[in-house]
């Protein structure tokens, strides 16, 4: 349970961080809050040769309303969720334990792309846009629907950083629902669902059931997989019930 040796860099600016990512490419991993990467390194499921610690990069901190920079912690958003779609305030207490939220960041969670994590699901549901940057490609903006391609897999290049995420303005008449089932509060969900209803238009996302968050169209079957925590049938059933529950929260009839 001890990480393999690595070279450590702590850039003091975004320019320096991008240079390091460009130089070390495939050998490098960016370290944000470390709440997913460090356990993977402890178990040696990840053995990056180079760590680029983003903890002292001022350009990745702070937010302007619904535009959140990558290194903003979940705890900071929980303390002050003003200007964000209100479903985020409902979801944040589920996002690990408070000790994890003190370190875990929005950018780190999106880049890690765990199928059971809340941020990838919320970004997809709310039609967020991610901002990515690298030396080779400069800045590009990617819709959340195109960002995550599979479990722990995204379109992020080896030399690229998530620098921020932007949520659309939330309409005053918008309604929403959020629910998940976990064995213990704060643990990864065994299944989760979230919805928005905006101007009569319903959007439903299921997460933690399958390989990535799923935007559920009318009549779609829920993609579910099994592992040692829960079987596929259980996950599909529970996710289906959670969809009914979140729609009811939003005042809709499933």
């Amino acid at each position: 349970m001890k990480a393999a040796p690595f070279a450590y860099h702590r850039p003091r600016s975004l320019e320096e961080a991008l240079d390091l990512m460009a130089e070390h490419g495939d050998d490098a991993k960016a370290l944000a809050g470390g709440q997913s990467l460090v356990p993977l390194m402890a178990m040696r499921l990840a053995q990056p040769a180079v760590i680029v610690d983003l903890g002292e990069v001022p350009e990745l901190r702070g937010r302007e309303g619904p535009s959140v920079r990558a290194m903003v912690t979940n705890a900071a958003l929980e303390r002050d969720p003003s200007g964000l779609p209100p479903i985020i305030a409902d979801a944040l207490p589920h996002l690990g334990h408070f000790q994890i939220r003190n370190r875990g960041t929005i950018g780190g969670s999106l880049a890690h792309a765990d199928p059971a994590a809340e941020w990838p699901a919320l970004a997809l549901l709310l039609e967020a846009t991610l901002t990515l940057r690298s030396r080779a490609r400069g800045e590009r903006r990617v819709p959340a629907s195109a960002f995550m391609t599979g479990p722990l897999t995204t379109v992020l290049g080896a030399d690229e950083l998530v620098t921020g995420v932007s949520f659309p303005k939330w309409p005053a008449d918008g309604r929403w629902g959020f629910a998940e089932v976990a064995r213990r509060p704060g643990d990864f969900a065994l299944a989760g669902a979230a919805c928005t209803v905006i101007g009569g238009h319903r959007r439903v996302v299921v997460f933690a059931a399958g390989p990535r968050p799923q935007l559920l169209g009318h009549g779609d079957e829920i993609e579910a997989g099994g592992d040692l925590h829960a079987g596929a049938g259980y996950r599909r059933t529970v996710a289906g019930r959670l969809v009914e529950r979140v729609l009811a929260q939003a005042g809709e009839v499933a």
Binding site: M1, A3, A4, F6, G34, V38, R103, G186
Partner: protein, 149 residues
Amino acid sequence: MITVNGREHAVDIDPRVTLADFLRDRLGLTGTHLGCEHGVCGACTVLLDGDAVRSCLLFAVQADGHAVTTVEGLATAGERSPLQAAFERHRAFQCGFCTPGFLLSAQALLDRGVPLDRENLPGLLAGNLCRCTGYEPILEAVLEVYGRR
């Protein structure tokens, strides 16, 4: 430079050493316990600039320039802190392995002025596992200190 329980330390350290291992092995502060070493059990919880964090999910180099409080930093001049005294009164431990993590998690909630009650406290402390007490005496101890603020 890292400040631990008010004392500054300037040391060279291998980047792969976690804050928990640094505290235990380099500084001899073995009150910080290591259970799961991947962020599930909470036994290694310490305060980093006043916030409760898992010291097994942080490399010691990341705490450079920051202040850490461990369970050894709770008592003042050998006098138990109010929370430590309440844990003793309520017998909020048996084997004691999880106790440092519970103390620091609960201390952070008290310090940050988080509203606490019988309803929300079990969820807030769910990030710390105890295999002995059944949690009830721990909840009672924390709520007693909260009520006496």
